[in-house]
Amino acid sequence: MRHLLKRLAILILTLWTAVTLNFVIPRLMPGNPAEVILTKFRGQGQVSASQIHAIEIMLGLNSHQTLLQQYLSYWKKVFTFDFGLSYTFYPQPVSALIGQALPWTLVLLGITGVLGFLIGSGLGIITAWRNGTRLDSVLTISSTFTQVFPYFWVAMLAVYVLGYLLQWFPLSQGFSSDMIPSFNMQFLNSALYHSILPAFTILVTSLGGWLLTMRNNMVAVLSEDYMTLAQAKGLKNNKVAVSYGGRNAMLPSLTSFALMIGTLVGGNVIVEQVFAYPGLGNLLFTAVQNQDYPLMQGIFLIIVICVVLANFLADIFMVLIDPRIRREVK
């Protein structure tokens, strides 16, 4: 119980720091959002003072609030989940933009993330258990390869071969151009079809990491005395591999999995850029490019909260599955 309270206190402190930094950092960026909006029009001509002025009025940038006042009203907004209107997509409210983008990110990255973890770790257990067999060498060597591939390279290659040359899959986008998002079979089909290529590339590049971590942990665990004991007791191989080996070898991977689930909410900027996927990563990228403070704050806040919460949950989960930590806590 004391452990839990301590964790909670740390959680609250972390949240406060993160939310405050979230307020401060965008304001340290040089430049002025109005000018950034207007530099988009390069080639359409130089920007006049009156144009900057008009945009400043529109965005309310000339409100002469002190930093403290802004900070206080920012906290109020945090609790009411009201982040005002985006600069880049003015007059769209930040909450609506995030609401549109979040499901795409959660579904694509959530499913591929969990699948990657499960399949990768599962294969990791198998390769470690069958250490030295041909299966092990093939999987380990290929994972070492795929793990070092830069994601964008794999993605571009997949787009070029599967999308451009063979034309099996669409080159980009989350769904077909002539569709309006809705819950009917036709749209879901299209969304599923468009998600195959991004999902495939994410899996290809993420599996290796999970596999190798799991395999290394597992190999270390295999030499433990309790493994020999379990086998000596005459337990079945599967049981020894999964309940004795896997469970213990899983612990470090679980922590990184929890962290990954937390950051997943922020989307994956590269994946979403390459595939023009309508998720949060793209939204964040656009926000940063355009110094869109309200939008940046909204997205970062969600990421921060999720990362901190995921960490907290991972901590608690560890207590549940690792008896050693439980003993320390007591």
């Binding site: 960026m29 040089p30 430049g31 002025n32 000018e35 950034v36 207007l38 530099t39 390069r42 080639g43 359409q44 001509g45 130089q46 006049s48 003072a49 009156s50 144009q51 002025h53 008009a54 945009i55 009025i57 529109m58 209107l85 880049t88 997509f89 003015y90 007059p91 769209q92 993605a155 787009v159 999308g163 451009y164 099996w168 899959f169 669409p170 080159l171 980009s172 986008q173 989350g174 769904f175 077909s176 151009s177 002539d178 569709m179 309006i180 998002p181 036709q186 089909n189 299209s190 599923l192 079809y193 979403e272 850029q273 390459v274 023009a276 996927y277 309508p278 793209n282 939204l283 110094q291």
Partner: protein, 565 residues
């Protein structure tokens, strides 16, 4: 056993993917059916690649919004069209205009124009639009109401009165999209208004096209059948795909998927023209000069002789050819946009100074006259005994500009100057320009015909940095009472001869004082296909600038005709 399982799995995967591909193909074919509601026989759909998705579109049809979808330019119209290439004026929603005095401008409004909801378009709509800008300064992006006094409708005329002479405002007045009073008067806050119509409807406008369908990755427009120039419209449908992701513009362009686009293509000849030399074309219409700005509040640029030396030392022809692949022609050192503004040119200035012919010898002899020397290792030493070194900054990622700065570095090295190239983020760069914290940089060009705009933007002291007010255009900090007076005087003249006299005095200031160095004419990227449509503006017939903005597009759309088969 294992291999059998794998095989089954592979077949299953193939099956699933083929079913899915099948589905998506069938959906695209149904959508193209709906596009056959053409008004002229043989009309064809046109795909226009100009609107960036990030990655998807947010719907916004408010023509005053900076974030409006680009399609609004095909829907809303303006009073007059002024070509920024030639200065030619074409009556549009107004049939004529007259300056009663330098503070009174009267338009006669076109008869028989109807909004696409059937209501008649009147002078009242025009007056309403302008007065709305007064009530909502956030919409008045040209700052019209700094000099306007009143806008009133009388019968079929609109009377625009100024509080002080401001004839150049004419150009901006003709860029204001006219909106219907019967719709917009009911809008509480037109600044936040997104003008999204009810399902199946279109925003109410007078223009040639109206909204057919909007989806996050694409929208389509169809001709408005009651358009007052409907006989000149030969497109059955306009398709605006969202530009984004791996589905790049270059790739689609080279595959001939677009009829019209505005991409920067590194080697347009190879990636586009060579794919279909008969139909694929580009015309990169010039805008007014962009410039090299020097910080005039700083040594050594506060010395006019030093600036003149820079005119000779920097070879803009090389910058144009190597930095911009020849797409941006070098600018005339008067700052005029030639050949369109040839009438204003005072040729005696170039004959006297000859800046357009670079010469490092002339630069060096000028520098010697003010106490600069080359030392034994070829470095230029200033009168203070220090080596001359300064920096030039351009935004990161603007690769053409960065190439140019590297060329300038070499050119200045010839006369012994050390130039450092800095590439900050766009935001940091624009802040440095605004606050005068730079040595040397570049500015972009303007798409406006009247040469006053160029000189006013870059030379008017009110656009310079002062106190906590950031510079807007006059980044170099040129503060000269004579320049300001000429610019102000220009606002009250209406005759062409008087205008020319004032402009030529400004040209003289450019040559004698060198407040900034004209660099090259910015190109308006523009690639088009003549497979389906002909009559595009080009160098031989520059009737419009392909800016993909209001009011240029309406001009172009009414000039295109079907290609004969």
């Amino acid at each position: 056993m294992k291999s059998k399982k794998l095989l089954v799995f592979a077949i299953l995967a193939l099956l699933i993917s083929s079913i899915l591909t099948g589905c998506s193909k069938s959906t695209t074919s149904t959508s193209s059916k709906s596009s056959n509601n053409s008004s002229t026989p043989g009309a064809q759909p046109m795909t226009i690649a100009t609107d960036d998705g990030s990655p998807t579109f947010q719907e916004n049809w408010n023509p005053f919004s900076v974030n409006a979808r680009k399609g609004v330019a095909w829907m809303y119209e303006t009073l007059y069209y002024i070509s920024s290439q030639t200065g030619d004026e074409t009556p549009w929603l107004a049939t004529s205009y007259k300056w009663n005095s330098s503070t009174d401008l009267v338009y006669t409004i076109r008869d028989g124009v109807k909004w696409n909801d059937g209501q008649p378009f009147t002078a009242k709509d025009v007056a309403f639009t302008f007065n709305m800008l007064k009530n909502f300064p956030a919409l008045d992006s040209h700052g019209l109401w700094t000099t306007l006094e009143s806008v009133t409708a009388n019968g079929n005329t609109v009377d625009i009165k100024f509080s002080k002479p401001d004839t150049p405002a004419f150009t901006y007045i003709n860029q204001i999209p006219i909106v219907p009073e019967h719709i917009w008067s009911k809008v509480d806050d037109p600044v936040q208004y997104t003008n999204i119509p009810a399902d199946g409807k279109t925003p109410v406008a007078t223009g040639a096209f109206e909204l057919q369908k909007f989806t996050p990755y694409q929208y389509t427009l169809v001709p408005y059948k009651g358009y007052w120039q409907a006989d000149k419209i030969h497109e059955s449908q306009l398709i605006f795909p969202a530009l984004n992701g791996a589905d790049t513009v270059d790739m689609n362009l080279s595959q001939g998927k677009y009829d019209w686009t505005q991409a920067y293509v590194p080697d347009v000849q190879k990636t586009y023209i060579d794919k279909d030399p008969k139909n694929n074309h580009y015309w990169y219409a010039q805008s007014a000069a962009s410039n090299i700005v020097m910080n005039l509040n700083e040594k050594p640029f506060n010395n006019v002789k030093f600036r003149q030396a820079m005119e000779y030392a920097i070879d803009t022809k090389e910058l144009s050819a190597k930095g911009e692949n020849g797409y941006d022609a070098p600018a005339d050192r008067s700052g005029l946009h030639l050949p369109g503004q040839n009438d204003y040119l005072d040729q005696s200035l170039e004959a006297k100074y000859g800046y357009n012919t670079p010469s490092s010898d002339k630069a060096l002899s000028l520098l010697k006259s003010i106490g600069y020397k080359k030392n034994s290792s070829g470095k230029l030493i200033g009168p203070d005994g220090k080596q001359v070194a300064f920096s030039i900054e351009v935004p990161t990622g603007w690769t053409d500009w960065i190439t140019c700065t590297k060329l300038i570095k070499n050119q200045l090295a010839k006369i012994g100057i050390d130039l450092t190239v800095k590439t900050p983020e766009v935001a940091a760069w624009s802040k440095d320009l605004g606050t005068g914290s730079f040595d040397m940089s570049f500015t972009t060009g303007l798409n406006l015909y009247d040469p006053w705009f160029y000189y006013n933007l870059y030379l008017n002291s009110s656009n310079a940095h002062s106190g906590d007010k950031n510079a807007a255009g006059n980044y170099e900090g040129w503060k000269d009472p004579k320049t300001d007076q000429l610019l102000d005087q220009y606002k009250s003249v209406t005759s062409d001869a008087d205008k020319k006299k004032i402009i030529q005095q400004l040209e003289a200031i450019m040559y004698e004082q060198v407040p900034l160095i004209p660099l090259f004419y910015n190109a308006n990227w523009n690639q088009y296909s003549t497979k389906k449509f002909v009559g595009w503006p080009d160098a031989k017939n520059p009737y419009a600038t392909p800016t993909f903005a209001m009011p240029d597009v309406e001009m172009i759309m009414t000039h295109l005709t079907l290609a004969s088969k």
